[in-house]
Amino acid sequence: MVKNITVNLTVNEKNYELEVAPDERLLDTLREQLRLTGVKEGCSVGECGACTVLLDGKAVHSCMILTAQVDGSEVMTVEGLEKDGELDPLQQSFIDHQAVQCGFCTPGMLMSAKSLLNENPDPDREDIKTAIEGNLCRCTGYEQIIEAVEAVTPNKEEKGAD
């Protein structure tokens, strides 16, 4: 007999009390219970990064965490980036730099980049590459994505010059 677990989560600044199955992944809860379908399921084994969300501010794979483990935590998905109808500067930059093609990797890329900027508002190119090393993109070749992230850092002009 499988017993469900009650979990309190803050997702995109809203509080939820949820009943979750013992084998329910954070990915499943976000997509199926909260209908936050910006969180994508790609490989399901922590290699593609499409399911990346912020857990207490840090980028994690939501496919590799059981929701029951993270009772009391704060989660942010791509849906939480937009504030009062305004896109996050990072989202706008992805559009401006054509860092989106098919779009499947984009939510995960955005969350990995957001996690980096939370920790280090002025990353260099290598920091950006490290931050997105766990996110696969099969369309863009990464260059536009890196440029989009660079463009929202404070010294963007300087960096754009080299």
Binding site: V2, K3, I5, P22, D23, R25, S44, V45, G46, E47, G49, T52, L55, K58, A59, V60, H61, C63, M64, I65, L66, A68, Q69, D71, S112, S115, L116, T130, A131, E133, G134, N135
Partner: protein, 292 residues
């Protein structure tokens, strides 16, 4: 489909009681190995009735400096190792190993305890920890015991952990600034790949510029990472300005084959382990010279 009851412990004692009273309990912390196995249906359902979450046990988090040692809680993540000033200062080889694991997302979740207990032949923390002469602390309702890594790791994916025991922390000796350390790894691509080969070296370099107390531990070269004592003897007392790399590269390859026998991967790994040794030694020597 794996079916189990989910249990959660917030204290070490609570965990030990569960392990004592319940049978067929599987532990989960960072989940970066376990969730993959669950997804691939690699876990025998007959062996698991309970999944016990230990990821929220505060007592097992954090890196603490004691008088003559450093204690690393089993739940310390790879990211925390990478960022720790204490680890970078005392035992850089461990931070260098941790930064090569998986991706940012995996390093944010995967734990030291999990990497050690899983005991993969390619685990990137095992060779540094063996080279650093780390000990693991194991607890059960019956008490506490400490083991060296070579005592704890009994084979590929196999350890001396009893079924009522939990690994609570890893203890490192403190090293003076006369000690140098380095970690090098070969993999197919830079990110999200397991090691084809890795190597951890820890050594003192004395006033006469000679290696002293040198430890050389390759990973993914033998069934479990282990110190290569022949090559250590070869380098003990050697002057950093007078190293015959060709000879050493040959010898470490031979030592590996003496342990594993000729395998399908030997034609690749034999020269590769030699060049990894050269890279690691030149890295250490460069650092010694930079320090004057």
């Amino acid at each position: 489909m794996l079916e189990y009851e989910f249990l959660q412990a917030k204290k070490i004692d609570e965990t030990l009681n569960y392990l004592d009273k319940y049978n067929k309990v599987k532990l989960i912390a960072g989940g970066t190995d376990l969730l993959v196995e669950m997804h691939k249906d690699d876990i025998d359902n007959d062996k698991v009735d309970y999944l016990l979450d230990i990821s929220n046990i505060t007592e097992m988090k954090g890196i603490k400096e004691k008088e003559d040692k450093i204690e690393i809680g089993a739940l310390v993540t790879h990211s925390e190792l990478v960022k720790s000033e204490l680890i970078n200062k005392n035992s850089a080889v461990l931070a260098q190993g941790a930064v090569t694991i998986g991706s940012t997302q995996i390093r944010n979740r995967g734990t030291v305890g999990g990497n050690v207990v899983n005991a993969s032949p390619a685990a990137d923390l095992l060779s540094p920890l063996i080279a650093l002469k780390a000990e693991v602390v194991l607890k059960s309702v019956n008490g506490t015991r400490s083991l060296s890594l070579p005592e704890f790791i009994t084979g590929p994916y196999s350890t001396d952990l009893n079924k009522n025991e939990i690994l609570t922390k890893v203890i490192l000796p403190k090293y003076s600034d006369k000690y140098y350390s380095i970690f090098k790894k070969i993999k197919r691509r830079k990110a999200v790949d397991i090691a084809r080969l890795n190597m951890a070296i820890v050594s003192k370099v004395n006033k006469e510029n000679k290696f002293e107390d040198i430890r050389i531990v390759p990973g993914s070269a033998t069934p479990s990472p282990q110190a290569f004592s022949e090559i250590e003897k070869e380098l003990e007392g050697a002057n950093i300005n007078d190293i015959n790399y060709d000879n050493l590269e040959e010898k470490i390859g031979e030592e590996m084959v003496s342990i594993t026998g000729e395998r399908w991967s030997t034609p690749y790994k034999k020269p590769a382990i030699g060049s990894l040794l050269k890279k690691s030694l030149t890295g250490i020597i460069k650092e010694v010279k930079a320090n004057g």
